[in-house]
């Protein structure tokens, strides 16, 4: 029986639809002309201007500081939570815990943004990098927990008992048995947290306050008021970086990350 070609055609057209804007952006970042519709000449001037823009570098470092700190904290908290959820599945406390971790995933970002803003205003906490760190850690915990929980489905708890029977102390069991087995899951969770933090705009926009600018906040300012060719260049760099990172993790972790 002949297969219909319709699904293949839809798939290919959708992929073109997904990549078309990225390709246009990429090409235009090398376009010497200010307007995307006309091809000037091949030029790297937008990249050069980007490189010498101090404000972008400041925003970049702010983003890095927040992404690294919130990834570290949320990976630890999320891994512990996943472990508790998996180990004590039957307990009532874990049902409540699961609800608390799951709900942030289904609420729109803007709600977490406004609720944290009101919370900080209410407590008179000054908005800035610290409040962004709190916000990012909060939404990353749920994602890390879910990734870890999926990985734990393959974890064999008899390993722990076996190592204890063989005379390992709890610390030895943790560092020599559990950590090596769970490392790929922890790495996957941390990578997701890092990407989410680096990319978050909406929640950051609400809790950032005037002084603290992250890269997405800066990009947003440029989109609203700035020069389009500069954003093309910055976007191309951001997209190429993420593609390289995804490709590398893919190579490092093998097929299972797909």
């Amino acid at each position: 029986m002949r297969q219909s070609r319709f699904p293949l055609i839809v798939t290919i057209l959708t992929l073109i639809f997904l990549y078309l804007p990225i390709i246009v952006l990429f090409v235009n970042s090398f376009n010497g002309s200010r307007f995307g519709g006309i091809w000037g000449e091949f030029s790297l001037k937008w990249y050069y201007r980007l490189w010498s823009d101090r404000a972008i570098w400041d925003a970049f470092w702010n983003s890095m500081i927040i992404a690294i700190s919130s990834t570290a904290v949320s990976t630890v908290l999320g891994s512990l939570a996943a472990f508790a959820l998996y180990r004590y599945k039957k307990s009532g406390l874990q049902k409540v815990n699961y609800g608390l971790i799951y709900t942030p995933l289904i609420l729109p970002d803007i709600l977490m943004g406004i609720s944290l803003l009101l919370f900080f205003v209410f407590l008179n906490i000054k908005l800035g990098l610290f409040t962004i760190f709190i916000a990012h850690t909060t939404f990353c915990i749920s994602y890390v927990t879910m990734v870890m929980l999926a990985r734990l489905q393959n974890f064999d708890f008899y390993m722990i008992e076996a190592s204890q029977d063989l005379g390992a102390s709890p610390w030895q069991t943790f560092t020599k048995v559990m950590l090596p087995i769970l490392a790929p899951g922890i790495a996957a969770g941390a990578l997701l947290a890092f990407t989410l933090s680096i990319d978050d705009f909406v929640i950051t926009f609400f809790v950032a306050g005037p002084g603290a600018t992250t890269l997405p906040i800066y990009v947003y300012g440029m989109i609203k008021f700035g020069s389009p060719p500069l954003i093309n260049a910055l976007s191309t760099i951001l997209i190429l970086t993420t593609f390289v990172i995804v490709w590398l993790t893919h190579r490092l972790m093998g097929e299972e990350t797909a």
Partner: protein, 291 residues
Amino acid sequence: MNNRTRLQELALTAPSFVWLCLFFLIPTLIIFTFAFKPYDVYGSILDGWTLETIYNLFNHSFLVVFWRTIWISLVTTVICLSLSLPIGYYLARTTSKLRHIFLILVVMPFWSSFLVRVFAWKSILHPEGVFKKMLVVLHIVNADTLLLYNPGAVLLVLVYSYVPFGILPIYAAASKFNFDLLDAAMDLGASQLQAFFRVFIPGIKAGILTSTVMVLIPTIGAYVIPDVVGGHNSEMIGNKIAQWIFVDRNLPQASALAAFLALLVLVPMIVLGLYSSRVERNSITDARGKQ
């Protein structure tokens, strides 16, 4: 359960539990309290309680935004699902090598910056952009047509941003589907289309439901997309919340709307949760009955 395991459980649970209570649960409850606070013209919050913020949600200018949010979200979801179904079907049936490549291509944009992808559309649809010029040359639109800053542009970019979220759950369900059933249906006289709609679609119902939720919920709460490619005639609930906070400095009014948005999302989710657990229970009792 003995005391020692109880303590271990508490020690593992407490860190994230305390963090989320402090920075998620309490702030969310603050929205629901602020929503009933009176305010003055300067945006200060006054003592006492009021229902004025709630009444204000029912005035005409807001209702327009509310209905627009609902129809844009529903249309986006329908378009995303109608693209995702054939794609999920194709991915599940093709060779594993092609599937691998296509899956990476579908997931890749998800890893790249969201703002950048929205901006890419703004520059394409821009009056000086490539797409606009092409359409003018092809005489599809004339030089004065504005492709940006209208509900159509918002819809287009929403579909663009959320279609991968629609594809993945449907693909996951389709990859577990037994495609021999389609051959069986066609052997029994169904056409290819009938087999698709009456055997395949019911077979991946759970995946379709997940896709719907994954697309519908972020769309209802959309803020950036209508803000960047939309205009005054395409504002959605998210834009109103931001406007009431940053422009009008009216925190109680913004809280009332945010609380409304939270209920708009949570109530269907809870109903869906109850429904699916009932279906699960029924199917378990069915399975027991057959034994």
